[in-house]
C-alpha cells in the first residue's frame, strides 16, 4: 500500500468531482441555505414561539381594552390586533391557527343582561389552536372573576331588596367589583409548579438541531454516493486499466475512500464554522471530541456507500439511491425533526441508523455540554458501523 498512490487517487477524484462548478451547490451552497432557513436564522435573539392570535376588537370599550391588555401579557399567545377582514383573510389562508372576535357591545353593562359571548374561530385539529383556546379561557377567567363576583353580589342584594334605579345598581356593581378585584389581586399564589428531572432532558434549539442535522444530511448523501464513484470507474474502464498497473486493489479502495472522506471532513468543518459564526452555536467547545465524532461518522457513511456500491450497476442508479436512502436515513435519524417528537417504537428502531447516533453525538456536544467521554459511545458505535460495512463492501466488491 503506497501512500503516494493513495494520495494520487484521492487527488484525482477531487479534481473530477469539482470539475463541474455545480458540485459547489451541493458541497456548500445548499447546505448553508438549508441550515440558515431551518435554523431560524432570520429571528435574531429570542425567537417568539408564542402562537399568533389575531384579535378583532369591534367593541372598543374599557372592558375590551382590559381584556386585550391581559391577553397581551400571555406567555402562550401573541396578540395581533387587526380588522375583521384582515383577520379572516389570515385565518382562511391558514396563516393563523385561531382568531378571536370581541363583538360590539362587549361591556360591563351588557353583563347585567346575562353572559356575554366572544367568538373564537379555530383551525380544526390544530394543536396551536387548542393552545390559543386555553390561553384565552385562562385570561377570560382572570378578567371575568371580578365581574362574576360583582354580578353575584348584585344579584344577592337584588334578591333581598330590589334596586331603586339603574344607577344605584351600577354603583353597587362598581363597588363590588372594586372590592372583588382588590381581594383577588391580594390572593396568594396557590399553585407551585416544579419541573421534574427526567433522564436526557429535551433541549430543543432550532439552531443547533438545524446545524447538526443539515451537516449530517449533506455529508451523508455524497458519501453514500461513493457507490456511484465505483460504478463510474467500472463504466469508464479506468478501474480495469488500474488493475493492469502495478497497483494493489487495496490501494485503489483506500485512495478512493480516503479522498471522499477528506472532502467530507472539509465540508463538515466549513458547516461547523458557519454554524458558529452565523447561528452563534458553541461548536468550538470541544474541538477534539468534535473531530473524533466527525471522522467516525464520515467513515461509517463511506462504509455504507462502499457496501451500496457492491449492489449498484450504474452511476445513475447510484445517484438516485444515495439521495433517497440518504434523505430517508437522515429524516429517521432525527436530522430534520427532533427525535424527541417521534413515537416510542420509531425512536427505538432508529437506533439502527448511523445518522441517529451522529445526531445524538453532535447535540451532546453543542447543546448538552458534554465532552469527549460523553460522545465516546456514539463514536464507538459509528466506528463499529464502519468496520462491519467496510468488511461487507470490500468482500463483495465488484471490479468488473
Amino acid at each position: 500500500m503506497n501512500p503516494r498512490k493513495i494520495l494520487a487517487i484521492a487527488w484525482k477524484d477531487g479534481l473530477i468531482r469539482f470539475a463541474s462548478r455545480s458540485e459547489l451547490l451541493f458541497f456548500i451552497l445548499l447546505p448553508l441555505v438549508f441550515t440558515y432557513i431551518l435554523g431560524g436564522g432570520f429571528n435574531p435573539g429570542e425567537a417568539d414561539t408564542r402562537v399568533r392570535l389575531p384579535v378583532v376588537d369591534e367593541a372598543g370599550t374599557p372592558l375590551a381594552a382590559e381584556l386585550l391588555a391581559a391577553l397581551e401579557k400571555s406567555e402562550a399567545v401573541r396578540v395581533d390586533r387587526m380588522t375583521r377582514a384582515e383577520a379572516e383573510a389570515a385565518f382562511d389562508d391558514r396563516d393563523a391557527a385561531a382568531l378571536l372576535i370581541l363583538p360590539a357591545g362587549f361591556d360591563t353593562d351588557a353583563l347585567a343582561d346575562g353572559a356575554v359571548e366572544l367568538e373564537l374561530r379555530q383551525q380544526p385539529n390544530n394543536l396551536n389552536a387548542q393552545a390559543a383556546e386555553r390561553a384565552v379561557l385562562a385570561v377570560l377567567g382572570r378578567v371575568g372573576r371580578a365581574l362574576t363576583v360583582a354580578e353575584a353580589s348584585v344579584a344577592e342584594a337584588d334578591r333581598r331588596q330590589p334596586f331603586a334605579s339603574v344607577d344605584e345598581r351600577a354603583a353597587y356593581f362598581d363597588a363590588a367589583r372594586r372590592q372583588a378585584q382588590a381581594l383577588l389581586d391580594a390572593a396568594p399564589d396557590r399553585l407551585e409548579v416544579r419541573r421534574a428531572v427526567t433522564p436526557d432532558p429535551v433541549g430543543y434549539d432550532p439552531a443547533a438541531n438545524s446545524s447538526a442535522g443539515q451537516l449530517i444530511t449533506w455529508v451523508f448523501i455524497p458519501l453514500l454516493g461513493l457507490s456511484g464513484l465505483y460504478a463510474f470507474e467500472r463504466q469508464q474502464g479506468t478501474l480495469r486499466r488500474l488493475l493492469t498497473t502495478p497497483t494493489e486493489k487495496a490501494t485503489f479502495l483506500l485512495g478512493t475512500i480516503t479522498g471522499q472522506v477528506a472532502v467530507a471532513l472539509v465540508q463538515m468543518t466549513l458547516l461547523v464554522v458557519f454554524g458558529a459564526l452565523a447561528l452563534g452555536l458553541n461548536w468550538g467547545r470541544q474541538p477534539i471530541a468534535l473531530a473524533v465524532l466527525m471522522v467516525a461518522f464520515a467513515l461509517a457513511s463511506a462504509a455504507l456507500g462502499t457496501t451500496l456500491g457492491a449492489f449498484v450497476k450504474t452511476e445513475g442508479q447510484a445517484g438516485g439511491l444515495s439521495m433517497m436512502l440518504g434523505m430517508a436515513m437522515a429524516l429517521l435519524g432525527g436530522c430534520w425533526y427532533p427525535i424527541e417528537l417521534f413515537p416510542e417504537a420509531v425512536r427505538t428502531a432508529t437506533k439502527a441508523l448511523p445518522t441517529s447516533w451522529a445526531m445524538q453525538g453532535l447535540l451532546d456536544l453543542a447543546l448538552r455540554g458534554q465532552d469527549l467521554n460523553g460522545i465516546l459511545l456514539e463514536a464507538g458505535v459509528l466506528a463499529g458501523f464502519a468496520a462491519v460495512f467496510f468488511a461487507v463492501g470490500v468482500w463483495r466488491f465488484r471490479y468488473e
Binding site: 372590592q179 399553585l191 409548579v193 427526567t198 439521495m323 420509531v346
Partner: protein, 418 residues
C-alpha cells in the same frame, strides 16, 4: 398533432424504462412519505389520524382530606375529563413524583395537608396568615400535556378563589348596605361562597367555531406529507425530462428527428408533451399508491385532477427553463436536483411555511410546490374544484410564463444545432 402525441408517448415509455430514474420518481416519494408518517406517529399502532391530545396520565395525591382537596380530586377524575385525562390516585407524594421522573406520567398533582383550611378558615379561627400551595410536578419532556393539567388546576383554583372572594364581597356589601345582620354574616358568607364556586358560570363565555360551513373531516397529517413529497419529486421528473432532451441533442438523435419530415414545432411539442405526460403519470401513480397503501383521502376527484394537471404544467415549465439554461445534460441534472431540493424546502414540503418569515412565504409563490400544497390540503379538508381555482390558475399562469421564456431561449440557441 398526431406526431406530437406519438413522440410524447414514446418519451413516456422511455422514461418509465429508466430504472435509475424510477428510484427518484416513484420509490423516493413513497419511502419519504412513509418515513415522515412514521416520524409523526401517523402509522403508530392505535395512532389516530389527527394529532389531538388525549389520555394524559396524571397522578393525584390528596393529603388534605378536606373539602377542597376532595373537590380537586373529583374534578380531575370527573367524567367530563375522561377522554382528556387518564388519572390515577396515590397516597405517597414521593412515589407520585418518581412516576413523573420515569416519564410514566405527564404531571403529578400533590395537595398538601391544610389546603382547605388555608382557603376557608375554620369556624371561629381567623384567616390563615400563610398560604398552602398545591404542587404541580411537571414532566418537561411532555410540555403540552403538562400544560393541559396545569390549565385544569388553574381553572379549579380560579373557581376556589371566586368562591372565597365572592362570598366575602357579597356579605361585606350586604352588611354595608344593611341588608343582613352581623350574626347572619358568617353563615351567609359560607353559603354564598359555596354557591358561587359551585355555579361556575362564567360571565364571559367563548363560542368556539371552525369557520367552515360543515365540520370538516378529521385532518390526516399524511394529507400534507404525501402531496408535499409527490410535488418535490415531480420537479425531479420534469428536470430529468429536460436532461434527456439535452442528451438527445448531444447524441444526435434530436437533429435526426428534426430533419425528418416533422416540423420543429411538432418535435419540440412532442418532447414537451412527453415530459408533461410523464409527470402526470408519476402523480397519478403516487396518488393511487398512497390511497391504497395509506388509506389516504385526497378529496374531490375533479379538483384533484385539475390540480394535478396544473401542477405538472407548472413543474414542466420549470423543467424547460432549466433545460434552456443548462449547457449540458449533466449540468441539467445537477441544476434539476438543486432546484428540486430548494423548491422542496421553500414550498413547504419539509416544514410548515408558517414557521418562516413573510418574505420567504412570498418567494415560495414561485414554486409549484407551494401552490400545489395549498390546493391539495384544501381538497383533503373537503374543498371542491371551485375552492382550488386560485392555485390552479396560478399554476397555469406560471406554466404559460415559463413556457414563453423557455421558448425564447431555445429559439435563440437554435435547438437543432449541436
Amino acid at each position: 398533432m398526431r406526431k406530437i402525441l406519438l413522440i410524447g408517448l414514446k418519451d413516456v415509455t422511455l422514461a418509465f424504462r429508466d430504472r435509475a430514474a424510477l428510484v427518484l420518481m416513484l420509490a423516493a416519494p413513497l419511502v419519504l412519505t412513509v418515513g415522515l408518517g412514521l416520524v409523526t406517529g401517523r402509522f403508530a399502532v392505535g395512532g389516530s389520524a389527527g394529532s389531538a391530545i388525549s389520555d394524559i396520565p396524571v397522578v393525584v395525591v390528596d393529603q388534605d382530606g378536606g373539602r377542597l382537596g376532595q373537590a380537586l380530586v373529583d374534578a380531575l377524575t370527573s367524567a367530563e375529563l375522561d377522554d382528556l385525562l387518564d388519572p390515577a390516585t396515590s397516597a405517597d407524594p414521593a412515589a407520585a413524583r418518581r412516576q413523573v421522573d420515569d416519564d410514566q406520567a405527564a404531571a403529578a398533582v400533590i395537595i398538601p395537608a391544610g389546603f382547605t383550611d388555608s382557603v376557608i378558615p375554620r369556624q371561629g379561627a381567623g384567616p390563615d396568615g400563610g398560604s398552602v400551595q398545591i404542587e404541580l410536578y411537571a414532566n418537561p419532556t411532555r410540555p403540552t400535556s403538562a400544560g393541559v393539567v396545569q390549565a385544569i388546576v388553574d381553572e379549579f383554583l380560579s373557581r376556589v378563589e371566586v368562591g372565597r372572594v365572592g362570598g366575602q364581597v357579597a356579605v361585606t356589601q350586604l352588611l354595608t348596605h344593611g341588608l343582613i345582620s352581623p350574626q347572619e354574616a358568617e353563615a351567609a358568607g359560607r353559603e354564598l361562597g359555596q354557591r358561587q364556586a359551585d355555579a361556575g358560570e362564567a360571565v364571559i363565555t367563548l363560542r368556539r367555531t371552525t369557520g367552515a360551513a360543515e365540520p370538516p373531516p378529521a385532518f390526516d397529517v399524511l394529507a400534507y406529507i404525501a402531496p408535499g413529497m409527490a410535488l418535490m419529486f415531480l420537479m425531479y421528473t420534469t428536470a430529468n425530462g429536460g436532461r434527456a432532451l439535452l442528451a438527445e441533442r448531444a447524441q444526435g438523435t434530436l437533429p435526426r428527428l428534426l430533419v425528418s419530415p416533422t416540423s420543429t414545432t411538432q418535435v419540440l411539442g412532442g418532447k414537451v408533451f412527453g415530459i408533461f405526460l410523464t409527470g402526470v403519470a408519476q402523480m397519478t401513480i403516487l396518488i393511487g399508491a398512497s390511497t391504497l397503501l395509506f388509506n389516504l383521502r385526497w378529496g374531490d376527484p375533479l379538483g384533484v385532477a385539475a390540480l394535478v394537471l396544473a401542477a405538472v404544467a407548472g413543474a414542466t415549465g420549470w423543467g424547460l427553463l432549466i433545460t434552456a439554461i443548462a449547457r449540458s445534460p449533466s449540468q441539467a441534472a445537477s441544476l434539476g436536483s438543486a432546484v428540486m431540493l430548494t423548491f422542496g424546502i421553500l414550498g413547504g414540503s419539509f416544514i410548515s411555511l408558517n414557521a418562516l418569515p413573510g418574505w420567504i412565504r412570498a418567494v415560495s409563490r414561485i414554486t409549484p410546490n407551494a401552490w400545489g400544497l395549498d390546493g391539495f390540503t384544501t381538497l383533503a379538508l373537503g374543498g371542491t374544484l371551485a375552492d382550488v381555482a386560485l392555485p390552479v390558475g396560478a399554476l397555469l399562469a406560471m406554466a404559460a410564463l415559463l413556457f414563453g421564456v423557455a421558448t425564447v431561449l431555445f429559439s435563440r440557441q437554435g435547438l437543432a444545432q449541436r
